[in-house]
Amino acid sequence: MMPWKVSPSPVGEYDVPKDDEQVTEARVKVDGVTKVFTSTTNGRRVEALQEVSLHVETGEFVCLLGPSGCGKSTLLNILAGFERPTKGEVLVSGHRVSGPGPDRGYVFQEPALFDWMSVWGNVKFGLVCNPDTRKRFPDPDKQVQQCIELVGLKGFEHTFPNFLSGGMKQRVAIARALAPDPDMLLMDEPFGALDAQTRYLMQGALLEIWERTRKTIVFVTHSIEEAVFLADRVVVMTARPGKIKWIDRIQVCRPRDLSDMSLMETRARLFELIGTEMKETEA
């Protein structure tokens, strides 16, 4: 008998589309992606990702979870187009990813804001960067205002980033990523540098934004609590070479209470999985 309500699925089950409909539904298709880095100093080859396949549905919130160095950030960078896979391919909205683009908003661990632009200027940046987006947003100011209100920064439009707190800076970064109306958001431990209190608030804020925009989100974290609190699906990755070890679908309604029995069980299970993974790396 399984002690938990949500039955975990073995690796791969989600990766095989059950019917054609699901194929068209998938926002992100990662197929057999392998990434090998070759060191420039000694020529040693390091396999960061090995045969990773994953589908993410439109509007889904997926967390990539794993010990540090497991290649979860590499996978995110491949999705963003910063890195090219050595083998395999990545499709986003049906198009093969060949480089970064405004259809995939990205939020870094550091806010990476432009210190010399006000909140307004930062959010507007992505809308006035090139002729295409300028054509797409003939009235950028309206879009900027909406995004700033969405992340709850109304009244701070003309403040410069260095006068904002860490959480507020990260809100600006989210608004900036959302401004060109991307198909999805890629988030690389966006709350990793925040204190526990702010982090908790930001998780709530992100869920609210997600519920209002229904953007597909791929969120990298090494915090089990964070993954369990946020995600529709938690994807656990193994230590180098990074492979998908486990996928957990969490069906508990939001807002979630982490002391909920089934979530406690999920947490315990994920904790054990990651624990074994870390022991293996140390050995």
Partner: protein, 273 residues
């Protein structure tokens, strides 16, 4: 909206000018005491008041054998502005370009690294051979001394641009022009401004040295001419003028430039070289 931050305390209140003023009064008093006690012969150590009187007569053009001070100030300022101006017109774009393409311009950087530590004063004999005494030599020396800080700081500023900002620009598909004007230039501005400040100071100091050695006008000439007439009071008045002009420029040109840019953005200025 009024912004405040503990890291950037407001510099208002009477303390802003009172403390420096008190320090100045204390220093002048010590000087006065030393002069009154005749620790040195009066013709070598005049009192502050004598220096002030001398300064006024210099300014009025009443001093024997001296042109009105204002004309020398004007001549020095012109030389400084032309030399410094030309230097930054070349050094800042050059630093920017070489910082943006470090691999391609590596071969250019090593001669720069070699020339940079040569004190500009060491160029004076060569300058004399090339251009003879006069404005061309002075301009060359001022130019040279202003070039290096502006160049190296701009170079470092561009090298220090955030890699994350490059990624942000790539995500949004920013055109090179947008990246250049909206990210690279303002992003390296703290360094560039520090470079300009240092270049200004360096060229002002070197200008005075060049005027002592190569000129028959300007503030450097004033103090050297006064020295040859054993007029210590005039030398001191000249030094005070040189100091005041340097201070006022720092205070009203560079501080003002910073207060409308990096200080407003809450960035501290880069402390380099």
């Amino acid at each position: 909206m009024k912004q405040s931050n503990e890291e950037f305390p407001s510099r208002g209140g009477p303390g802003r000018w009172l403390r420096p003023a008190l320090t100045l009064v204390a220093a002048l008093s010590l000087w006065e005491i030393a002069a009154v006690l005749k620790l040195a012969p009066p013709f070598l150590l005049p009192t502050p008041l004598t220096v002030l009187e001398t300064w006024i007569s210099l300014a009025k053009g009443e001093a024997i054998g001296m042109a009105p001070l204002l004309s020398d100030i004007w001549i020095s300022l012109q030389r400084q502005l032309i030399g410094f101006g030309l230097a930054i017109l070349i050094a800042v774009p050059a630093g920017f370009f070489m910082g943006a393409f470090p691999k391609a311009t590596e071969s250019l950087l090593s001669p720069f690294r070699f020339l940079y530590p040569v004190p500009t004063i060491a160029w004076v004999p060569l300058t004399l051979l090339w251009f003879g005494p006069g404005w061309r030599s002075i301009l060359f020396i001022t130019f040279l001394s202003a070039f290096w800080p502006a160049f190296f700081n701009t170079y470092e500023g561009v090298r220090n641009l955030s890699r994350l900002h490059v990624r942000v620009a790539r995500i949004f598909g920013a055109t090179p022009l947008v990246y250049f004007f909206k990210v690279a230039i303002p992003g390296s501005l703290p360094f560039t401004l520090t470079g300009l400040r240092l270049s200004y100071g360096a060229s002002w100091r070197m200008l005075v040295a060049a005027e002592i050695l190569l000129a028959t006008s300007g503030l450097g000439y004033v103090i050297d001419q006064s020295r040859s007439m054993l007029r210590t009071d005039q030398v001191m008045a000249g030094i005070a003028t040189i100091g005041c002009i340097g201070y006022l420029t720092e205070r009203f040109v560079f501080d003002a430039l910073e207060s409308v840019t990096i200080a407003r953005w809450g960035i501290r200025r880069a402390e380099r070289r």
